[in-house]
């Protein structure tokens, strides 16, 4: 292994990346676009959700409750309907995400100190949205009932004896229920998958496809030198992108960063080795740029997107899928990211994720090294 030849390979590779508009776009624009996209676009906070209301009470009290619902800005009371059928129709055709039914005895029961039940019909085609909606509506109802209680107290001089017990669901780590705080750290895993696996999968395949590999392997440069030299620029660029994404997350989207920067860089470097090795391995096997890039997306980007716990909580997945996530390296990295960003878990306590990640890095690294030979077949 000659460090000089590794540098020679790396310098050539870097010049090629810098001269290729497509690679450059992926390196520079893609991370920013992904962070912004998931920060704003795929914001599962769902503000201004269309709601249909069937107010069977029709009193000032029920109107007051609806005003609270409206004021919460999570909901937008799209229509007040006069019967149950209109409500279900709205849910059926998707013009409402939720239907609220206020019972006919709403104000009457509240006047006598309750309890009373408001019905919320939630469109659960997207269980994630449904969960969030239920959370929101509970929040609004709790706030309202607290207000009713305090009014009762001031009017009667005594607290409500049989006040409905508020099921208080506290949200940890993300007190504002801002989903961006949950999501954005995970975007780093996506960015790295694209830089590490997708871009890298192209490099070896490109050399085979353009015929440059045949000449390259007839020179004294060793297989290991070719591999290291080719991966080095992507490693550096991937790490730089990680920092950029983290900065955007922290300073633009105000995602809390409670852990150590060193732990972030260390775990990112490990994950980078994983995806670079995968990209390299795929590239060696596929020998064509198109096939290589497709395989890279399917084996790294998609799992990082769907099975890493980045968007969808692993605990809510069907059991077989949960098992599969154990062999998805991105799972461990996303978990580390959330801990570093949101919980501030000390680096020493991250071993449950870092050990599997290190094993993946080692195994895939060896696999990639073994796969490439300076031979034609």
């Amino acid at each position: 292994m000659s460090g000089r030849r590794v540098i020679v390979m790396a310098r050539k590779e870097l010049v090629q990346i810098l001269r290729d508009p497509q690679s450059l776009m992926i390196v520079i624009l893609m991370p920013v676009i992904l962070v912004v996209l998931f920060g704003y676009g795929v914001n599962i906070d769902l503000k201004g959700l269309p709601v249909f209301v069937f107010d069977r009470d029709g009193t000032q009290q029920s109107q007051d409750f609806l005003k609270h619902l409206q004021a919460s800005q999570y909901f937008h009371v799209q229509r007040v309907v006069g019967n149950y059928d209109a409500l279900t129709r709205g849910l059926d055709n998707g013009s409402a995400k939720m239907g609220i039914v206020i019972p006919w005895n709403f104000s009457q029961r509240l006047r006598s100190g309750g309890p009373v039940q408001v019905q919320a019909l939630v469109d659960a085609t997207d269980d994630n949205t449904a969960n969030i909606l239920t959370g929101y509506v509970q929040g609004v109802v709790q706030a309202y009932s607290a207000q009713v209680q305090s009014q009762w107290l001031s009017a009667h001089g005594a607290p409500l004896q049989f006040a409905p017990i508020a099921v208080e669901t506290r949200t940890w780590y993300n007190e504002d229920l801002e989903s961006s705080a949950f999501i954005i750290p995970g975007v780093l895993a996506l960015v790295m998958s694209v830089i590490g696996a997708f871009l890298t999968s192209l490099t070896i395949a490109r050399e085979w496809e353009r015929g440059t590999m045949e000449q390259l392997i007839s020179t004294p440069v060793s297989a290991g030198e070719i591999m290291l030299g080719k991966l080095l620029p992507y490693f550096v660029l991937g790490m730089a992108d990680t920092v950029v994404c983290a900065l955007i997350a922290i300073y633009w989207f105000r995602v809390p960063f409670r852990g150590s920067f060193l732990a972030l860089m260390g775990s990112s470097a490990m994950f980078m080795v994983v995806v670079l090795s995968m990209g390299f391995f795929i590239s060696v096997l596929a020998k064509g740029q198109f096939a290589a890039s497709q395989i890279a997306l399917i084996t790294t980007f998609l799992p990082a997107f769907l099975l890493s716990g980045f968007l969808f909580a692993i605990e809510q997945m069907p059991l077989p899928l949960q098992w599969i996530t154990h062999v998805i390296p991105a799972r461990y990295y996303v978990s580390v990211l959330k801990k570093i960003f949101l919980k501030g878990t000390p680096a020493a306590l991250l071993y449950a994720d870092l050990v599997p990640l290190a094993i993946f890095a080692l195994v895939l690294g060896i696999l990639a090294t073994r796969s490439f030979h300076k031979r034609l077949t």
């Binding site: 000089r4 030849r5 020679v8 050539k12 010049v15 090629q16 001269r19 290729d20 353009r210 015929g211 440059t212 045949e214 000449q215 390259l216 392997i217 007839s218 020179t219 004294p220 440069v221 060793s222 300076k374 031979r375 034609l376």
Partner: protein, 333 residues
């Protein structure tokens, strides 16, 4: 320029003639064999190339030229046989041999998104050529290639001939002892081709051994020695002059305004071993010129004006090759 180059070729050839036996073999191939699923690509061929010699591997597409060169370059393991290259056993230790050799694949193997200079530097660096050696060497080679003013141009923007010459410059930057060129002049314009050959001849003074493959049979005549490769077999291996002198047959050229018709008239005539349409001529290989010319003329005379002239010419490598391949094909069929 043309005359100087031609003169140089003559001089080099003369030098080679006088010293060839004293030169050590830079390439020694014995019983080299390689097959791919369903094809025996190279069938136990043996030959050697001496330092200071240009050896031409000639044959049609699919003859096994590229497979042979790849095995010699140490990038394709042979099934059996041995390759010694500048004293290194390529089969056993290909990586060590790579320091001494230079291989130019048939497809342009350089980076089109790097400039001429960057490509040269990349290869120089891989071979550990330092800057002090690289600069004068690349200057000299680029000048010989007539490319001095294109040093900052992207390789992808060069013409086909220029690309091949750049490939050669990159291949020569580290003073290799053995040069393997796979169809280096295919699709190259005549001027670049001439530059190419001049550079090759100048290199011989450095004592390198050059092995090149070509599908152009006229180019074979420029090589010191030629090996005719057909379906993985080395049919002949000698100097062009010896090959031609040793051809036991004669070549007749018939000029005609309708060569196709003339050809039709001659089908089935005795003594003809092969017939090829060659521009406005019909080239025949016959077993004996003296006894066959009369009957052949008589046969053509049956249709008036079917030909203008018929004469015997010196055989070329192409005649030899076409005849040999044709005869083999018949023998095989």
């Amino acid at each position: 320029m043309e005359r100087r180059a031609a003169g140089l070729i003559v001089v080099r050839f003369y030098q080679w003639q006088t010293m060839k036996d004293a030169l050590p073999a830079a390439i020694e191939v014995k019983g080299l064999t390689r097959s791919f699923p369903g094809v025996l690509a190279v069938d136990a061929i043996s030959f050697d190339v001496r330092a200071g010699e240009i050896f031409g591997l000639v044959g049609p597409d699919g003859a096994g030229k590229t497979t042979t060169l790849r095995m010699l370059a140490g990038i394709l393991p042979p099934e059996s046989g041995s390759i010694m290259l500048a004293g290194v056993d390529v089969v056993r230790d290909p990586e060590r041999a790579k320091h001494a050799l230079s291989y130019m694949p048939q497809r342009f193997g350089l980076y089109e998104d790097l400039t001429v200079d960057e490509n040269i530097r990349f290869y120089a660096d891989l071979f550990g050529v330092n800057r002090a050696d690289r600069e004068p060497r690349s200057l000299q080679l680029l000048q010989a290639a007539g490319m001095s003013e294109f040093r900052t141009r992207l390789a992808g923007r060069l013409s086909g001939g220029m690309k091949q010459k750049l490939g050669l410059v990159c291949a020569l930057i580290h003073h290799p002892k053995v040069i393997l060129l796979d169809e280096p002049t295919t699709g190259v314009d005549p001027v670049s081709r001439r530059d190419f050959w001049r550079i090759l001849y100048e290199l011989l003074a450095e004592g390198v051994a050059i092995l090149l493959s070509t599908a152009y049979l006229d180019e074979a005549e420029r090589c010191h020695r030629v090996g005719l490769l057909h379906q993985g077999n080395l049919l002949f291996c000698d100097t062009p002059a010896n090959l031609k002198a040793g051809m036991p047959k004669a070549v007749l050229v018939i000029a005609s305004r309708d060569t196709r018709n003339a050809r039709k008239l001659l089908i089935g005539a005795q003594g003809i071993t092969s017939m090829v349409l060659h521009g406005d001529d019909l080239r025949l290989v016959v077993d004996d010129a003296h006894t066959r010319m009369g009957p052949l003329k008589a046969r053509l005379d049956a249709v008036s004006g079917s030909y203008d002239s018929m004469m015997q010419v010196e055989p070329t490598i192409e005649d030899l090759f076409v005849d040999a391949v044709g005869a083999r094909d018949v023998a095989h069929g």
